[in-house]
Amino acid sequence: MAKVTIKIDSQPIEVEENSYVLDAARTLGIDIPTLCHYPYVTPYAACRICSVEARDSKGWSKVVTACNYPVWDGLEICTNNTRVLGARRINLEMLMSRSAPHPVLQRLADQLGIKEPRWGFGDNTCILCGLCVRVCDEVVGAHALTFSERGIFRKVSTPYDQEADDCILCGACAKVCPTGHIVFEDVEQRNVIHKEFGLGPNAAIAVPFRQSIPNIPKIDTAQCIHFTTGGCQVCSKACPKDCINFDDVEKSEEIDVGAIILATGFKPFDATRMKRYGYGRYPNVITSVECEMMNNASGPTGGKVLLQNGEVPRAIGVVHCVGSRDAATNRYCSRVCCMYSLKLAHLVKERTSAEVYNFYIDMRTPGKGYEEFYERLMEEHVHFIRGRVAEISDWALDPSEEGKLTIRVEDTMIGAVRRIPVDMVILSVGLEAQADADEVRRMFNISCGKEGWFLERHPKLAPVSTFTDGVFLAGACQGPKDIPDSVAQAGAAAAEALALVDCGYVLIEPNTAGVDADQCSGCRTCSAICPYSAITILSDTLLAQVNEALCKGCGTCVAACPSGALQQKHFTDEQIMQEIKGVLNYV
């Protein structure tokens, strides 16, 4: 495209023909205030705050709006002489005369040195900049908003002022509205905390969760405007590196590998299963994981521990063994809860200086520095009450419990039932095997115990190996485990995997099957049943032959072989017959 050269405040700049002054000025870093400009919609010059003076070399000059005045060769722009500022003042004062006092306008007024708007204030915060209308049309493509009426009655409205069927509730209008005239009401119960745990709204394009690998944003097609209306694509316009790809779809790839490490982890116990603890019913009953998010400085609450009404809790209960050591849910101890509960107790006390109560069955603090940490918390005056919590309710028996959550528990130390009112309850949920553990283990042909934890080949001798060669285990998929243990095991698994891949060959079982060609009649009983297609029928002799590299040594074919021509090394018919004799020899 042809280039032209213009000067802004006597700084020259070469820009594309028919581009607008405002853009050129911004590239030069010269600030021109606007209210109705938004990079992704066509300029509209509704607020006229962006007025500047245009000149040519022959002395002609005129006040124009920078947002939509196209450049031409030799054009000179002045953004701050008295004529320009005067024009902006008048325009702003007119806007203020319609609008109620508003911080955005007020800030501009201060910059332009307006003490009192000459025509006073109006009562309508909408300044008819039309950004919302243009965004809804051009970006969202929903066309749910428009201007209606004329003159002083002119206003932004939905068709016939009715609820617009075309509106997709994307909230774009509210987002661009310079004066906050359009408000989107948050209908979510809890206004804090992170989407990862189903707690509140989030951008349609975002990094799935913190520290996710790969750490890049992902489009939630269910929420994305583009996938709803076909419009928007603001993200791709905004992305300087053109990384956004709307056509990308989920696909599975096949990769040949020499070894596989299963580190599928665990799933936190679903606290809603413990009805009596009211999770899901009481907003301020949260799980340990949610609390963890709260404490995260980069988390949704910026590291603050807040109740759903935004206030800071004064008393907090931490309930141990939720979904652990419980005949009704999981009998096993989840092993990590005691320690993380102590950690959370410490953090929330530190951040809120609330009274913190820990309800435990037994404190299990094995490991380096753990017991000491427990003692430290007691010094920090965290309360420890030994007893399984019976129920959590908002039913107040006396004024002290009004508007609070009451924890009912038998304190087995003093042998009495206690009611403890708190503002927030943290449920220390246990660890459970992934819901799809069974499918996964079948896929890898390994076994798992009743609880769904993957089974190691041998608890002592082969703790990271499985019954399938080349498949190893790391982390909580094998059983509840804390981070240090998981890391240690992962290291071991990696080493095993590398050792296997590195040596470049595999050892096969010695107990493969073999055919005695002299006794084989080629009846094809074996080839039909071999699960590994290790038995082929030779084209010339029509007899069976075992490929020892493919044979895994199950011996099924041997049991089936009608002539006894097939035998399994180390498990021949004769050997087993002798074993039978042997075991029956003693009385």
Partner: protein, 327 residues
Amino acid sequence: MSKPKVALYWCSSCGGCEEAVVDLAEGILDVVAAVDIVFWPVALDFKKSDVEAMADGEITLSLINGAIRSSEQEEMVHMLRRKSQLVIAFGSCAHMGGIPGLANLFTRQNVLDSSYHESPSTPNNEHVEPQVEYSANGHRLTLPSLWETVKTLNQVIAVDYYIPGCPPPVNIIKEALGAVLQGKLPEKGSVLAPDVPLCDECKRRESKPEQIKIDSFKRPHLAQSDPEQCLLAQGFICLGPVTRKGCGAVCVEGNMPCTGCMGPTGRVLDYGSKALSAFASLISANADDEIEKAAATIADPTGTFYRYSLPASFLHRAGHVKVTGDK
């Protein structure tokens, strides 16, 4: 000087084995030329006394057919064992018990009942039964008593070799006799027939598909079979894969499945359970009920898989518990 002496004897059998020997046809004259037949009740008037008169081991070879099921037979085979250098169990009955061995699924009394008490054509109101000892108008008459269990020959005397088949195929007999006469014998206890299953000599072998999978077994009278295709692949219970070759697959030639009269190959000890294992493995179903359904299409597993070998099987006969089909 003397030609080798040969004795032929029959125990509990049908005479088919004798017929098979006669079927050597001209061959029989060669045999007669090559040996002295010193004992052959079915065709020649020689006496037990002649045999008794012989020295131990004087007979070169005794061919004994039929299963053993009475003291009389036991006595005879013991004598022949004494007099013979070699004893060959001749035919399925001596080898494995044969079809009469199916009687081991029942008790001796069962057998008597069905003949003398349950037969619709036998109005035997006095419940008369043959007696081991009976006095008819002053004269004592005796009958040999039947054993509870039918036995194979090697369950009564030591057997040197076996000639399988019901009846033994002529060429197998020729070769075996040839081997004996020329002294080219394998190790004691061997079966004098090729140690390879029937499929090896079956004309239909090439027609076998890559994968034999069976959803349900067919019964020969209820389905038309393709005369070129492997019968097993078609779902018929053809015992060829389990059975020694040597007969030339005549039954399959006759478009009927092999029923296994030649017995198993050398490494298989219990014919029936081995056959069962092979065929069960080919069933395609995996769910319990489907397996049951597929297995149920084998109408009579015991009678089918142990057709000729029940007395030689590991279990020999039905145990002490009530037997199915027994009223």
